[in-house]
Amino acid sequence: MSVSPLTKEGELAQANKGYSLLDDPRVLGWGSIVLMLAVWEAAAWLFNVSALYLPRPSQIIVALVTLFGSGGLALDLGVTLWRIFAGFAIALISGTLLGLWIATSFRVRAVADMFIAALYPLPKITLIPLLIIWLGTGGPFMLAISFLGAIFPIVINTVLGVSQCDQGLILAARDLGATPQQIMRRVLLPCAIPSIFAGVRLGLGVSIILVVAAEMVVGKAGLGARLYLAGQILETEQVFAILIVLAMLGIIVTKVQDAVDAALGNWRAD
């Protein structure tokens, strides 16, 4: 639970008045969403807004249930998740290994620095036309786009994490008889894990964006393709329903990352 840095309001309130529902960030977070939906529902009903323009939350929920029930949205969700995480997993493994190599070899670093400087700032979405020419629009293309989204932040953060590793730890490991390979696996890699995880956060976010965007451009299946199609035929409830699925995906990914982050506490000295 975090407390505002400006005031100690939260702490003081709890000390003085005991527990209040409004001191719980979860109640505040979820409560405000429920409140917003209620106002939306009421306003759309009151002013008789066309569902084509802004459907009511209740209509969106019906669309969501229908899409999952008979519309095969679960399959699309599965397809999208597979594309995101398969490419991301390849990026995580190869990016970590590549990062370790770059960080421990002066020559490899000199070479890689140039490539990273050229490719990292390039918006990956601009690579979609080229990738389609090379790979078509099938599975390999989707894997490549997800991979490209994640690889750079993971490599860069691995290099950063390894280079920030305390020299004393490396000396201590050498003193205890570690070979260069053992130092890499048992000291440099664990040292870099919090930093690698920061790269995972950035990279996974980009992978999600790229895969959904690519699906919107070329996909026949997947959340992005369904979203684009629903927009084309003015099924506004469905557009909102798919956006909700994407938002939920975002919440789950963020919460899992927060949990992993908390579990990494032991990795940090003091």
Binding site: D166, G168, L169, L171, A172, A173, R174, D175, L176, G177, A178, T179, Q182, R186, V187, P190, I193, N266, W267, R268, A269, D270
Partner: protein, 269 residues
């Protein structure tokens, strides 16, 4: 019991970075670290004490002179004996528990699980940390962390223990208690040890002989035998011969520290 002495003959080390003027860290150091004895290394900051330790460990190669390991039982040169270091900054692995930190060297060597656990537990018990095996370094006080550092070195059963200002980062009281514990440990084993320290008191309390070093470039100014009876403790510090030794070493050091301070000022300018 190990009979291997470490002999340095005319050892010098000059750091010559490409972009900067060379620094002479050590010059013409000739000394011996006798087996089964604790040798203290004391001198002003930057005099190359830790550098000398790194040379003995083999992490740095001297640019001049030679380093030899001599078996005192037959006078012949032998390969480098097993060595372990205890560090001023502890250098514990923050992601490993006390148990896994202590067993780190055993794991590297592929020691079988049962033997690994038994040896690590024995080392942890030797530094009075039984019950803390599952804790992580950040959950321990400075004194406890350094006891883990000591256990991690001892578990390797080194023939030579290198102590690089082991209590330098600890508060005065913790330091006193750990000095006594370490004195007890070295008395009950027959490990060869080299102790780098800034504290004259610590050097006398723990050492059989003390090498006083000069300001940079570091050389050995004097070798002082410490004949105080063991076991030693805080009580030893009230022994008249203790104060005699203290004054003698302080006298030697004082001028060197002054010189180091002046040189330091020149360096800063």
């Amino acid at each position: 019991m190990s009979a291997v002495a470490i002999e340095l003959d005319d050892v010098g080390l000059t750091f010559a970075p490409a972009s900067d003027a060379p620094t002479v860290a050590l010059e013409a150091v000739t000394c011996a670290f006798e087996p089964g004895k604790v040798t203290g290394l004391i001198g002003p900051s930057g005099c190359g004490k830790s550098t000398l330790l790194q040379i003995a460990r083999g992490f740095l190669s001297p640019t001049q002179g030679s380093l030899q390991f001599i078996d005192r039982s037959n006078g012949k040169a032998t390969p480098r004996p097993a060595m372990s270091t205890v560090w001023q900054a502890f250098n514990l692995f923050p992601w490993l528990s006390v148990m896994d930190n202590v067993a780190f060297g055993l794991d590297l060597a592929g020691t079988p699980q049962e033997q690994r656990d038994a040896r690590a537990r024995r080392a942890i018990a030797a530094v009075d940390l039984t019950g803390f095996e599952g804790r992580y370094p950040r959950q321990l006080s400075g004194g406890m962390r350094q006891r883990v550092g000591l256990a991690r070195a001892l578990v390797m059963e080194p023939e030579v223990l290198l102590l690089d200002e082991p209590f330098g980062a600890l508060d005065a009281q913790t330091r006193l208690v750990l000095q006594e514990q370490l004195a007890h440990l070295v008395e009950s084993s027959s490990t060869t040890a080299i102790l780098v320290t800034h504290s004259i008191e610590e050097a006398i309390l723990l050492s059989d002989a003390i090498l006083v070093m000069t300001a940079r470039p570091g050389r050995v100014a004097a070798r002082i035998e410490v004949a105080l009876p063991r076991p030693r403790s805080v009580v030893t510090t009230r022994d008249p011969s203790f104060s005699g030794l203290f004054d003698h070493i302080y006298g030697l050091l004082r001028d060197e520290v002054m010189r180091a301070m002046v040189t330091g000022q020149e360096d800063a300018q």
